[in-house]
Amino acid sequence: MEHGAFGDQSNATFSLTEEDHTLANAVRFTLNQDPRVTFCGYSIPHPSDARVNIRVQTTGDPAREVLKDSCQELMLMCRHVRSTFAKAVDDFRTSEKVQAMKIDSKE
């Protein structure tokens, strides 16, 4: 749900249901890092409702596109985290095997 002026696409508040700090803080982080954004923040109107309001103000680009781009970047970051983590776990497992073999061969 997007609340904003019809004429001005660059400032808007997005109201997301069924979300909380988990997604909102992460999206706020990626939004802030975007150079097109002048202001961004999020608030939770009431803790019993699962609803988050994300406010985006940009330097002219439509706020919807900027939010989409930030979510896209967050997705790419997550994918990179996953692949790096999988590789690190594999490296750790092989190095453990090598260690175990070294200890066996020493004995």
Partner: protein, 382 residues
């Protein structure tokens, strides 16, 4: 050696003058860089705790603070310290606190597991009340991959795709000793419930009686369960029975997430801390060094001999620091000698699993769930 460099950098920062700056600044001056990347833990409270994430924060200096994805991809590292069947400890280096916290929150509250939800009690003559017994059964971890099952909503019937059925029937003999009922007594029923529903007496007497679940096929025909049966975590005490007491019940387990009830949380807990960095700003020698080494309860400091009988303190294990700040309290001017800091983008994650999934699978699933959330927002916006 590292703290020597830090000492030199600090001295450099003090003798810094604007005439030394290059004409086009590429990096931030050292004290600003320190504020951006380290939390300084003073005796009373930490300072510089906020993360400077605004892209134009250093625009007046000409330094771009915006997120470049390739910069993140190049600098991000993961190092696994310990990995066992039930827990793991690993380092995430180069990531921000917002995302690390998102992973932690998802690990605790939004990863699905199977847990007992409905308990049908046929007979309970023990001293444990029905509801207390049902509550205890709900908290038992069930060792099965929750990805093989589907969620069950209120309108669905219980079938073999969304329910696991366990049975418990224990009787303590009269004249025998007291009995401890452990989770080892919970038997898995792969064919579904055995308790019959009350049906009208004029229905066909030769057909199979309807039970509380309608399994169309047996669960142990599935390849995942044929060799390793579904069982709860063993050796957990459920109840204690005196002579003559009996418990007979059937428990149905369904899929859920930790947000609804904590019994569905797949981690015993998951937490992270930032990497501590201890720096000795001045040389600490002789008795001061001995005092420093003795005050630290986790042995962060060590003594090294620098010849001619003099001793100096060094930082041997900064990672073990628990931030108790005892080393700052042991005298008046110790705050000027020891500097305790945290590195803002280096997180030491620890995940302890309850047994259903291995910890590295849990983390991978948590990252996938964050990706799904982003995708949901993107599709809603388009």
């Amino acid at each position: 050696m590292a703290e020597r460099e830090e000492t030199e950098k600090k001295k450099e920062a003090e003798s810094f003058s604007i005439w030394d700056l290059p004409d086009v600044p590429q990096k931030l001056p050292p004290h600003i860089e320190f504020q951006r990347t380290r939390v300084q833990c003073n005796l009373d409270a930490p300072i510089h705790t906020e993360n400077v994430m605004y892209s134009g924060a250093y625009a007046s200096m000409g330094v771009d603070n915006s997120l470049q994805l390739d910069h993140f991809c190049n600098n991000f590292r993961v190092e696994v310290i310990r990995l066992t069947k039930d827990d793991m400890e690993f380092d995430l280096i180069g990531i921000d606190a917002a995302i690390a916290n998102a992973f932690r929150r998802i690990l605790i509250a939004e990863l699905p597991t199977m847990a007992i939800e409905k308990v049908l009690i046929a007979n309970n003559t023990s001293v444990i009340q029905d509801e207390v017994l049902a509550h205890r059964l709900g908290l038992i971890p069930i060792i099965v991959d929750p990805r093989l099952f589907e969620y069950m909503s209120e309108n669905d019937t219980s079938n073999e795709k969304n329910t696991i059925v366990f049975k418990l029937h224990v009787l303590c003999e009269r004249g025998g000793p007291r009995l401890t009922v452990k989770t080892n007594e919970l038997k898995w029923l792969p064919n579904g419930s055995e308790l019959p529903l009350e049906t009208k007496p004029d229905s066909n007497p030769s057909s199979k009686p309807r039970t509380y679940t309608s399994f169309s096929s047996s669960q142990d025909l599935l390849p995942e369960f044929s060799n390793n049966p579904i069982r709860p975590m063993l050796d957990i005490t459920i109840a204690r029975l005196g002579p003559g007491q009996e418990i007979e019940l059937e428990a149905h387990a369904v899929k859920g997430i930790g947000k609804t009830h904590a019994k569905w949380s797949p981690v015993a807990t998951a937490w992270y801390r930032m990497l501590p960095e201890i720096v000795l700003l001045e040389d600490v020698e002789d008795e001061d060094a001995e005092k420093l080494v003795k005050t630290c309860p986790v042995n962060v400091f060590d003594i090294e001999d620098i010849g001619s009988g003099k001793k100096r303190a060094t930082v041997a294990r900064p990672r073990a620091c628990t931030l108790c700040r005892e080393c700052l309290r042991c005298g008046e001017e110790w705050e000027k000698r020891v500097s305790i800091r945290r590195v803002k983008d280096h997180f030491i994650f620890t995940i302890e699993s309850t047994g259903a999934l291995s910890p590295e699978t849990l983390f991978t699933e948590a990252v996938k769930i964050l990706e799904d959330k982003c995708e949901r927002v993107i599709t809603e916006l388009s």
